[in-house]
Amino acid sequence: MHDKENLSDVSKLVSDIKHKNILSSLDIALRSEDLLKELISQGQWKSARELMNLVKIRIQYIKENLPHEATAANVMRHVLKVIREEYECESKRKVEGQSLHQLVTAHPADVLDYSESLINLKTSLIDHLTEYKVELESSGENIAAQASEHIHMDEIILTVGKSDTVEKFLKSAAKVRAFKVVVVEAAPLYYGHKMAVSLAKSNIQTTVISDAAVFAMMSRVNKVIIGTHTVLANGGLRAASGIHAVALAAKHYSVPVMVLSHMYKFTPLYVGSHNQEAFNICASPANVIPYSAGKILNSIQVFNPVFDYVPPELVTLLISHQGGNAPSYVYRLLSELYHQDDYDI
């Protein structure tokens, strides 16, 4: 009972996500960050270890209730790493650049157990989180600022569906360059239509094509720029359904595929399309075949998957606010973002 009461903050977050009160991944990230700041300043903890346990319980709760929600858990995972770093810093035990020799010869007693209670830990953590929040908020702009490096004059850019990050990125490029955008409508939700309207309003020359026309169009395209739901540990993507086909077509014509991704979308998880149960969500088939179709529905089973798995070899570049990286470099980014011990919670 005691445990459950403590979890009211995270269950509120989960319920808000479920009720669609918060929609964009940025909002989810900011909410999670606020939640942890609250926890650090108000929560019942004495040592870093206790605090880390509190955060871990929350990550587990999110994983159980929203198995496909990566953002909130990633933000919390990153904060775990921040707690570890601050603790090491405060306890003055951190040795800059541990060499292999030191690692091997380290005495077991030297391994930090984070149990000491440090006076300054709380304030320094809160300072660090405030910084982190600024980083989250500016992440979108930082990505958009790189637009002019990637988009050149008179290029044809292809994008799929709607992504806030891609939208910002293209609009930012449109301020300095003239180029054309082809938007794939992304059936069955057709968010591509909204995207095209928004781009056209900012005076970008926009063409909407159907999903089936992607291959035919690809030969004329210079770059594919897409957003993603998460970046997996192997550099692959869990992206909106339909993107795998686009990426394959791009591969065929050797068109570079650039993926815009915030840092909080990098997830230390290996899941592939072979495990659809864990990987995917199936939405209502109503968008594929209407419920009014009648008798035929008794004898067929319709799937409407939300995500596609895009293998890393189809991705050319991942662009985060720190700049562009190849998918093979994701493991390194992950180790910068999260602590090894927190990968699997």
Binding site: S15, S284, P290, S292, G294, N298
Partner: protein
């Protein structure tokens, strides 16, 4: 409790909903004797959990749950959910209202009116709803409706659904007429009536510039109500159900000062209610097929197997068992070589080796011993024990002795056949069949045969409903024309000669061959005979009908070819109507033979062409046997003379 209510009244504009938790019917007997309807496991999760999650996701902040049976069980369950901080508890408050004196849906609403708990518009749910409808936008829409029509009292939420879909309950078929504001002007539940024709009041066509007649809808049993609904129930104490309310409101619109509107759901919004076993089955499948996304079966408790099988915790299935499209609860043990198809097995059942279960529902804690077979819409209540080698088909079984116990109802020490009141009427055959159809949606082909029963007689209505109906066949049109003429003739006692004239003129109008004319006329007369009231008097009615049409029969059955045509018509009618009395074929053949319409040789040679294994063959056989016997007897008599 009082502090709670105070708390509520202080907050203005809370979005409220009412759930009536009881069906007040016997649809779920014998399972409902021990499990309340609200706690019926749907994919191993209590039904009420789906309803509450739906309301919470739909934006409801306060819910009144009205129960009058198994109150403690429901209360316990709700308290447990609140303790476990289930998703809906964060955004919604649930108040349980108990009133054991209520015996109908209407009583509950009258009780609520007396309590005065509701302010503003509210959502009214009938029992057993699973849905993913966004209620806030619907409430807003209803609010806009009330702005231009201050008498608007209810917006019914309907969903588009094709004919023949399992999600459409045949008992709940509706036809409505609306004007361009979506106001309901006419509402008729087709399900239980046997009427073949519909009458729309002329006024609705005269008073409105535009009318839509809709038959492509199913009722989601969700309604958005204005505060005026509850007083209306109180003022009219004869309103027992929502249907009574709708009917009363449409009949006495001016007096009651209330109007009805409807909203048709499109796209991924889904609504449905478990009102009987058939809908239980349909909604289970639809949940599995994600139609009600984001509501889904609990992943933690369930495992999904191949062939669309879902099993609960601690249930193990041996390699040799064959299970298909079924749901098994927790702690079920399954024996070797067991077959389970299209069935629902609740928790803690023990199934021994070599058991066959198909299209049935097995209540909790049942024990099925070796080689027993449970098939075709059987329902087993809690704790039933089925003996070895017992064969149960289309029966309700419970573990205790029923009140109206009769000899032969006892199947074993802990299993008794249960009779549903009403099944023992004269029309036993018809009602037991319809009963069977309502229990479970059995199979595609069975369902189709049911369609055929209604098929031709409903043709006018079907043309209304199917938007993409194929172009009408001339012969079929001719047939309906003939049926119309004959029915009118019979009712108004017209001369048969005139009828023949009429039929002949339609024959030329539709350009049908002589053969088809003979076939269709006989078929029409026989089909009419099926519409007669069933009962003891049935055959006397039938012979009266046939003798009335004697001139028609004589006119069309002239030669041997015509005789064959008419025999084929008998075959056609008999095979497409499965609920015919067994002796019907015999009677008709006997009649036609006695009156010399058809000769013995034709019958015998026609009989040889029949497929010897068919059901129809066995129905005709006694008659031909008799014919042959009679012939032998007469010839032997001649010899002896």
């Amino acid at each position: 409790m009082s502090s709670q209510t105070k708390d509520i009244t202080r907050k203005e504009n809370v979005v409220q909903a009412i759930i009536v938790a009881d069906t007040f019917g016997d649809e779920f007997v014998p399972i409902s004797d021990t499990i309340p309807h609200a706690l019926l496991p749907v994919l191993n999760k209590p039904l009420i959990d789906y309803t509450l999650e739906f309301l919470s996701l739909g934006g409801i902040e306060e819910t009144f749950l009205f129960c009058s049976n198994h109150v403690n069980l429901i209360k316990e369950h709700i308290n447990k959910s609140i303790k476990n901080v289930e998703g809906w508890t964060l955004t919604m408050k649930v108040n349980i209202i108990i009133s054991e004196s209520c015996h109908s849906f209407g009583d509950c609403l009258r009780d609520l009116d007396a309590k005065g708990l509701l302010r503003g518009d509210f959502v009214l749910l009938e029992p057993g709803i699973i849905s993913n409808v966004q209620l806030l936008s619907l409430l807003k829409k209803h609010g806009e409706t009330t702005k231009f029509d201050k008498y608007a009292s209810m917006t019914m939420i309907l969903q588009e659904a094709g004919i023949g879909h399992i999600g459409r309950c045949p008992e709940e078929e509706i036809i409505i007429a609306t004007n361009e504001q979506n106001r309901i002007l006419f509402h008729k539940k087709m399900g239980k009536t046997k009427e073949r024709k519909l009458e729309f009041p002329l006024d609705i066509f005269l008073e409105n510039s535009e009318i839509s007649l809709l038959h492509n809808l199913k009722d989601t049993h969700i309604a958005i109500c204005s505060p005026s609904v509850l007083p209306l129930f109180s003022d009219n104490f004869d309103f027992q159900t929502k249907d009574d309310f709708i009917k009363g409101l449409l009949m006495n619109e001016e007096i009651l000062e209330g109007t009805l509107y409807c909203h048709v759901l499109k796209g991924s919004q889904y609504g449905g209610a478990i009102t009987n076993w058939r809908m239980y089955q349909a909604l289970s499948y639809e949940l599995q097929n994600k139609w009600i996304h984001p509501l889904s079966s609990p992943r933690k408790r369930n495992r999904l197997m191949k062939n669309s099988v879902i099993i609960g915790e601690n249930t193990k299935i041996p390699e040799s068992a064959h299970i298909e499209r079924s749901v098994l609860g927790e702690n079920v043990t399954v024996g070797q070589n067991t077959r389970v198809e299209h069935s629902f097995i609740f928790s803690d059942c023990k199934i021994a080796d070599d058991v066959i279960i198909s299209h049935s529902i097995i209540g909790p804690h049942c024990v099925l011993n070796e080689k027993s077979r449970i098939t075709a819409g059987s329902i087993l209540g809690q704790d039933t024990v089925i003996e070895k080698n017992l064969f149960v088909e289309n029966t309700l079984v419970q573990s205790t002795k029923p009140d109206d116990f009769e000899e032969g109802d006892k199947l074993g020490a802990k299993s008794y056949r249960l009779r549903i009141s009403g099944e023992e009427d004269d029309d036993l055959i018809v009602s037991s069949l319809s009963c069977k159809m309502s229990k479970m949606h059995i199979q595609e082909d069975n369902c189709e045969s049911e369609d055929e029963i209604e098929g031709f007689s409903d043709s006018e209505e079907e043309e209304l409903s199917y938007t993409h109906s194929p172009p009408p066949d001339d012969t079929k049109l001719f047939f309906t024309e003939v049926i119309d003429s004959l029915t009118r003739g019979f009712e108004d006692n017209l001369l048969c000669d005139n009828l023949i004239l009429e039929i002949n003129s339609s024959r030329y109008a539709y350009n049908v061959t002589v053969k088809e004319v003979n076939f269709n006329v006989i078929k029409a007369i026989l089909t009419m005979s099926l519409r007669q009231p069933t009962g003891v008097q049935y055959f006397s009615h039938l012979s009266r009908l046939l003798s009335y049409f004697a001139p028609v029969l004589r006119n069309y059955i002239r030669n041997e070819n015509a005789m064959v045509d008419s025999l084929q018509a008998i075959e056609d009618v008999a095979t497409s109507n499965e609920d015919l009395k067994d002796k019907w074929v015999m009677f008709v053949l006997q009649y036609l033979y006695d009156k010399d319409y058809i000769t013995e040789e034709v019958i015998l040679s026609w009989f040889k062409t029949l497929e010897s294994k068919s059901n129809f063959h066995s129905q005709v056989k006694p008659f031909t046997d008799w014919l042959e016997a009679a012939e032998e007897a007469s010839s032997s008599e001649e010899e002896s003379d």
